[in-house]
């Protein structure tokens, strides 16, 4: 039986359907999860998708971090379940303190929308094992508040523990240390600003590099069963 991967829809989520479609294309069973539910329906992994949850009110991801479904997502993440936060989902994971740091407004105040070149900086995570360390990939990037910041101690810790997962090759937003994605200590929770779910089909994307993230977690879940 194919692993079941849930995608949470918050009010204002945009990319939940693309994420569900990517999950299906890569061989897992996609499961829609609702922000107001207090259950993750027994899924094997969870994706928090891109968009503008709760209208980006207060701070991006701040209100979604306290949505009812997040209680179980946080508990499952702490117990080792793979969780991927994409763009707004990354912001939610930082606000929920599952990942360190924060995402603030881009350095030049502009909304960035482009095909972004990235360097894979860690393959020791549930979501990047199918990639190669140092590999260059291209994923869609589209956000206004994607500038990763954290204090110097946190940055040192992330570097020391190998928890920077993706780096920008031509930093588009002023993110510290060119950080595009990070993971928790265990490597099961990953957040990144670029959108792997938009790079899974030749019809609509110039690269298929996003597939590797979904294939990685499928490997991870299949190996574990």
């Amino acid at each position: 039986m194919a692993p079941r991967i849930g995608v949470v829809t918050f009010p204002g989520s945009l990319d939940d359907h693309d994420a569900l479609r990517a999950v299906g294309l890569c061989g897992a069973e996609p499961v829609s999860l609702w922000h107001g539910s207090d259950s993750v329906a027994g899924v094997d992994a969870v994706i928090l998708p891109g968009g503008f949850s709760y209208g980006d009110y207060l701070r991006c991801g701040a209100i979604a971090a306290f949505a009812p479904v997040m209680t179980e997502v946080i508990a499952a993440a702490e117990a080792g379940m793979p969780v991927l936060g994409i763009c707004n989902g990354f912001q939610v994971l930082c606000e929920a303190q599952l990942l360190p740091g924060a995402l603030i407004r881009n350095e030049r105040q502009t909304f960035v929308c482009r095909d972004q070149r990235l360097r894979v900086a860690s393959v020791d995570t549930a979501w990047t094992s199918a990639l190669t360390l140092g590999q260059e990939i291209t994923l869609v990037l589209k956000n206004g508040e994607g500038r990763y910041v954290a204090d110097a101690d946190t940055l040192d810790r992330l570097e020391g523990e190998g928890r920077v997962v993706f780096r920008y090759l031509d930093n588009p937003n002023g993110s510290l240390s060119d950080i595009a994605g990070v993971c928790n200590r265990r490597g099961n929770v990953v957040g990144l600003m670029p959108h792997p779910e938009h790079n899974v089909e030749a019809l609509t994307s110039p690269s298929l590099d996003g597939r590797a993230l979904f294939e990685s977690v499928l490997d991870f879940l299949t190996a574990r069963v």
């Binding site: 306290f66 924060a102 603030i104 350095e107 105040q109 500038r147």
Partner: protein, 81 residues
């Protein structure tokens, strides 16, 4: 009804692109020598009396939700006006 004000500001070491843009616009309008940092002000209407315990509770709420202490500082005070 009593009112408590919570001011939230980006930490000094965090770049504040909004404040920087406002600073630039002021300069172009001829208001020179003014550097702006932009934050948020929350006005909290409180049922009943604002006791020390109630203030502590609001401080807790500010730390949990109103501010992200990774990037922001906050200040909680009773609005005397």
């Amino acid at each position: 009804m009593a009112r408590v004000v919570v001011d939230v500001m980006p930490k000094p070491e965090i770049l504040d692109p909004q404040g920087k843009a406002v600073t630039g616009a002021l300069d172009r309008l001829g208001f020179s020598g003014l550097t702006v940092r932009q934050g948020k002000r929350f006005e909290v209407e409180v049922d009943g009396e604002v006791t020390a315990a109630r203030l502590a509770e609001i401080r807790d709420a500010a730390e949990k939700l109103l501010a992200n202490t990774v990037i922001e500082t906050f200040d909680v005070r009773l609005d005397q006006a």
